[in-house]
């Protein structure tokens, strides 16, 4: 086992799956000779050639549209959207086409495309290089939404996504691309989609998170333990759709207190859906109202990003709230 960054794990995952299956092709802006602006595809064009690691013109709808056509044909395309903020020109292809092809054709035309895209704040990327747009896709039946928070999961979940038969939006927390390192098995393995992970076991409060927020939640949980003796369980959802509702409810029923962390704007974010599910299905177990720690209902600011994003302080405050209710 090697110690890799999350970014290296993605790279390793792509390489491993491309070696395994010649149906896998990558395409996107600057992914070839440049290896992607974050270097997630570094070295792949050299190994697999320009017909399998395809630099595209600057048009996201073209990237996803052609990827769908490749998938209909029988390939396993893995398009990259350079920043999630730039996924919107492809929104129609994703929402109207990719997510609906299998359904609208009565199962005749599945289109298993895996869209990789770096998302999220915390890199001083400002207004248009920081968004967390998962909620739009979670509300779109027909596409899975997968977000790893560790190098191990990044590679294993990516493998599952590529081997699967369904469209996947694979969101990569760019804030921790390089800062989070971990053991990653060499060669092939998979981590199943649809299973949450207990990133930290605990008994008094459940903190639900995903992607880079998992690590902020873990920090807060440490502090809560150290400073206040509160035992927090951190649930890393890993896939938002399909949701591991069983794991969510199990943790919640155990602790009776819930904090949900989501860096996207508050209104209509996925945290709301989770809160609704818990309120509907586990109200009997709740010892306190659920608290959401989220971004604000503003676009993403540049200079003030640290004030915008959920941080350990705000999570600790939420823990206080649910504990002292």
């Amino acid at each position: 086992m090697a110690t890799l960054t999350l970014l290296q794990a993605v790279n390793d995952g792509l390489r491993t799956e491309m070696r395994r299956d010649d149906r896998v092709v990558c395409l996107g802006e600057d992914i070839g000779i440049n290896g992607g602006v974050f270097r997630a595809t570094e070295g792949l064009q050299k190994e697999f050639g320009a017909e399998r690691v395809i630099d595209t013109p600057l048009a996201e709808s073209g990237i996803i549209g052609t990827a769908i056509g490749m998938a209909l044909y029988g390939l396993k395309p893995v398009p990259e959207i350079q920043f999630m903020d730039f996924i919107y020109p492809a929104f129609d292809q994703i929402v109207s086409e990719l997510a609906k092809f299998r359904y609208r054709s009565g199962g005749q035309f599945p289109s298993p495309v895996v869209i990789r895209t770096p998302y999220g704040g915390g890199i001083k990327g400002g207004h248009y290089h920081s968004q967390s747009a998962e909620a739009y896709f979670c509300h779109t039946p027909g596409i899975q939404v997968v977000i790893p928070s560790t190098p191990h999961d990044a590679k294993g979940l990516l493998a599952s996504a590529i081997r699967g038969e369904d469209p996947v939006l694979f969101m990569e927390p760019k804030r921790i691309y390089r800062s989070i390192k971990g053991e990653v098995p060499e060669g092939e393995y998979t981590v199943p989609i649809g299973k949450a992970a207990i990133a930290r076991p605990g008994t008094q409060v459940t903190i639900v998170a995903w992607g880079s927020m998992t690590h902020i939640a873990l920090e807060a949980a440490e502090k809560a333990q150290e400073e206040k003796g509160v035992s927090c369980e951190v649930l890393d959802l890993r896939s938002l759709v399909p949701l591991d509702k069983a794991a969510l409810l199990e943790s919640v029923k155990k602790t009776g207190r819930v904090v949900i962390v989501c860096e996207a704007p508050r209104t209509g974010g996925y945290a709301g859906e989770l809160s609704a599910i818990i309120a509907e299905e586990a109200i009997d177990s709740m010892e306190a109202p659920i608290v959401r720690v989220t971004g604000f209902d503003t676009p993403f600011p540049y200079t003030l990003e640290h004030a915008y994003m959920p941080n350990t302080g705000r999570i600790l405050k939420a823990i206080d709230t649910v504990v002292n209710f």
Binding site: G62, S105, G194
Partner: protein, 370 residues
């Protein structure tokens, strides 16, 4: 500047010999018969809609030659990314009236399981890709399939169809541009029927023709008489040969006319002059081809009658059969969202079925099987 328009059959049925494709008599008869099938299906479709048996219909009358001529120029293994106005492409490849009508009725036997409006066909084994309502989305998809065929080094090529209105969408641009860059083996095929619902071509683009748009992407474009099945055949054939030989994409614009309303919900009297319709009626693609077949000595009065009677009988029989078919089960609503049903959706399904079983079926009209 005026655009040159390729024509093979003059209006009197005589021929520009130089351009005439050499087609077998069998092929010529099949072309004619398929055009008749399209027209007959159209009449039936509008009738079924007007009598409330189906909810919606998109007629393609006037465009029989442009649909059928194009698909006929391809190999059977080539991929089609069509529009809702291309039933002729499915009929040419052997779709039965029963299959087509099962879809218009949205019944259990529909290949798409009643999930889409009429005219949004999908036939996997014919490589007739599931049609979408959102305009122009098929164009980059078709390019992707062509890139895949190229990657796989097959001899398959792809044809994608679009309307004149469709050329205005961003996806037209993305698809065309990608195809040019990758020299994808594809034919872009535009049936320019002069209108996008109520918007005439002049309100759609200021370019001197639609085919000239290919220049923006570095590959050739031609304009043909779309009511001349042989002109369409020839142009598409040439483009297909080019693609198959590794020459990359081409664009073919077929000038034609939608004789009927945009759909059963539309009333063209609101926006277009009757005189224009009349003018185009004179250019009827079936009449034109009939004149040709006459000149070739292939057509007889008896064969005409036999063809129409045969097609109509098939259609009536198919209608009867399909009217007797039932709707999809309510449970089927939850299939095919994914390759397998995830727990959250399974719960939703279970709760709906359970609710309906508890005698609440009346809410849903009663007639639907679970």
């Amino acid at each position: 500047m005026t655009t040159e328009v390729l024509q093979v059959i003059r209006s009197d049925g005589s021929v520009q010999k130089k351009l005439e494709p050499t087609l077998s008599e069998e092929m010529l008869r099949k072309l004619y018969r398929t055009m008749v099938q399209v027209r007959a299906l159209d009449e039936k479709g509008m009738l079924l809609q007007r009598t409330g048996k189906i909810g919606f219909y998109v007629p393609s009358g006037g465009q029989e030659a442009s649909q059928v001529g194009a698909v006929a120029a391809l190999d059977a293994g080539d991929w089609l990314f069509p529009t809702y106005r291309d039933p002729g492409m499915a009929l040419w490849r052997g779709a039965s009236f029963r299959e087509m009508l099962a879809h218009e009725f949205g019944c259990a036997e529909d290949r798409s399981k009643g999930r889409q409006m009429p005219n949004h066909y999908a036939f996997r084994e014919m490589k007739y890709v599931s049609i979408s309502s959102p305009i122009a989305t098929q164009i980059p998809q078709a390019v992707g399939a062509a890139m895949a065929a190229k990657y796989r080094k097959t001899k398959e090529i792809v044809l994608t169809s679009m309307g004149d209105g469709g050329t205005s969408e961003g996806d037209f641009h993305c698809g065309m541009n990608f195809a040019g860059v990758y020299k994808a083996p594809i034919v872009f095929y535009c049936q320019n029927n002069q209108w996008a619902i109520s918007v005439p071509l002049s309100g759609q683009t200021a370019s001197e023709s639609i085919s000239v748009k290919a220049k923006a992407y570095g590959f050739p474009g031609v304009t043909v008489d779309g009511n001349d099945v042989l002109a369409v055949y020839s142009a598409v054939r040439q483009a297909a040969d080019r693609a198959r030989a590794g020459g990359g994409p081409s664009f073919v614009e077929a000038l034609t006319y939608r004789m009927g309303p945009h759909s059963s919900s539309d009333d063209p009297k609101r926006y277009r002059p009757a005189a224009e319709e009349e003018e185009w009626r004179q250019k009827d693609p079936i009449d034109r081809f009939r004149n040709y077949l006459k000149k070739q000595g292939i057509w007889t009065e008896a064969w005409e009658k036999e063809t129409w009677d045969g097609v109509r009988a098939d259609l009536n029989e198919a209608t009867k059969q399909v009217e007797a078919l039932g709707p999809p089960t309510i449970s089927s609503m939850f299939d095919d969202v994914w390759s397998s049903i995830p727990p959250v959706l399974q719960e939703q399904k279970d709760s709906l079925i359970e609710y309906l079983k508890k005698g609440e079926l009346k809410d849903l009209g009663g007639a639907f099987p679970l």
